[in-house]
Amino acid sequence: MYMEHNNMKITSKEFNAITGEETITERDETAAEAKSRLDFVKELASEQAQAQAKAAAKAALLKKLGITEAESELLLA
């Protein structure tokens, strides 16, 4: 779904308010769009890694304490 190589195709739709016509075009992404896409992919991967690390640390702590997640929430309530 997320293509990291260059020249990803961008589909654009345009509605002309004067003529009422809709046109659909497909073009290569611009350099700015490519940068935006790659930043997006990196950001998403970083967030997923952080979320996984956080979940793993939480599971390890619960195991160390010998309580379930529901019990930990009860403690924090």
């Binding site: 779904m1 345009e14 308010a17 003529t19």
Partner: protein, 289 residues
């Protein structure tokens, strides 16, 4: 009355004299149109009224009019009526678009060129209610970029309803396909359900106004209102937006700022930061004159 070719010894009727008098006094009967129209030679010296709820055009072609001929255009309808150069050249110091109750005159300087002199309309204030520019709204599927063009309004109100995009994707807009650092805004945003935090984006290449949560079926909603859109100065805006999933990466924004482009806004682009296609939602563009 329409331009006549008089002959020697011709006797004018009272009706013809009355019509000539009206024309001489810049009045006279108008030819009523309700849809886009291409001018014909018989329109010389007459007035054309346009009355349509949708946008229309008046097309001007060559070899129909002589230097000195005039055609007055009056827009009675809610849809913008735009004077369009067909095969002829049409120049103006103003805009070729006539909002409701605006008028202008085509003054032909040759058989192939005219100057459009727009009459003074209301200025400085918004006198028209907001009207939907993109009829029915634009369905947000099958593309990553959606453009609404042919805009000629003093104020714009953009409404994004239930937009569906990639996990964590960001929604952005630009005007006139301007991707230079002409956008400046400040505000507060909440991420992952936390308290609102202030932020500022100075001189950036677009207005980012929303971020989706982790689900592709989240609804993303936004209002953005811009002023001064038909002028050369800054276009100030206010905006608020929400993702229905604010517990993960979904953001809620409150923003105000400027589009600093010096041209009147004629197009608006809505797009994703990922380049991935939208998978749902509707984009409404309302304008007021």
């Amino acid at each position: 009355m329409a331009k006549q070719t008089f002959t020697t010894g011709q006797v004018l009727t009272a009706a013809q004299m009355t019509s000539l008098q009206q024309t001489a006094m810049l009045g006279g009967a108008a030819s009523a149109k309700t849809a886009s129209y291409v001018l014909v030679a018989a329109d010389a010296g007459t007035a054309i009224t346009m009355n349509s709820a949708s946008a229309t055009t008046i097309t001007v072609n060559t070899a129909l009019f002589a230097a000195g001929d005039t055609v007055q255009i009056i827009n009675l309808g809610a849809g913008v009526c735009t004077i369009t150069a067909g095969t002829a050249t049409v120049n103006t110091s103003a805009t070729l678009a006539l909002a409701q109750y605006e008028s202008g005159t085509l003054d032909f300087i040759s058989t192939s060129a005219a100057i459009f002199i727009k009459g003074a309309g209301a200025t400085g204030t918004t006198t028209e209610s907001y009207n939907l520019i993109n009829t029915g709204g634009t369905t947000l599927t099958g593309a990553a970029t959606f453009t609404v063009s042919g805009i000629s309004k003093k104020a714009l109100f953009l409404y994004i309803e239930n937009a569906q995009v990639s996990s964590g994707d960001r929604l952005r807009i630009t005007f006139n396909s301007d991707t230079t650092n002409n956008y400046q805004f400040t505000g507060a945003r909440s991420s992952a359900g936390a308290a609102y935090l202030p932020y500022r984006s100075g001189d950036v290449a677009n207005i980012e106004f929303l971020r989706n949560g982790t689900s592709t079926t989240n609804g993303n909603y936004a209002f953005l209102q811009f002023r001064g859109c038909d002028g050369t100065g800054f276009k100030p805006f206010v905006a608020t937006s929400n993702c229905t999933d604010s517990t993960t990466t979904g953001n809620e924004y409150i923003q105000s700022g400027y589009y600093k482009g010096t041209s009147a806004i004629t197009t608006v682009q809505l797009f994703t930061s990922s380049g991935n296609n939208f998978t749902g939602g509707t984009f409404y563009v309302y304008g007021a004159q």
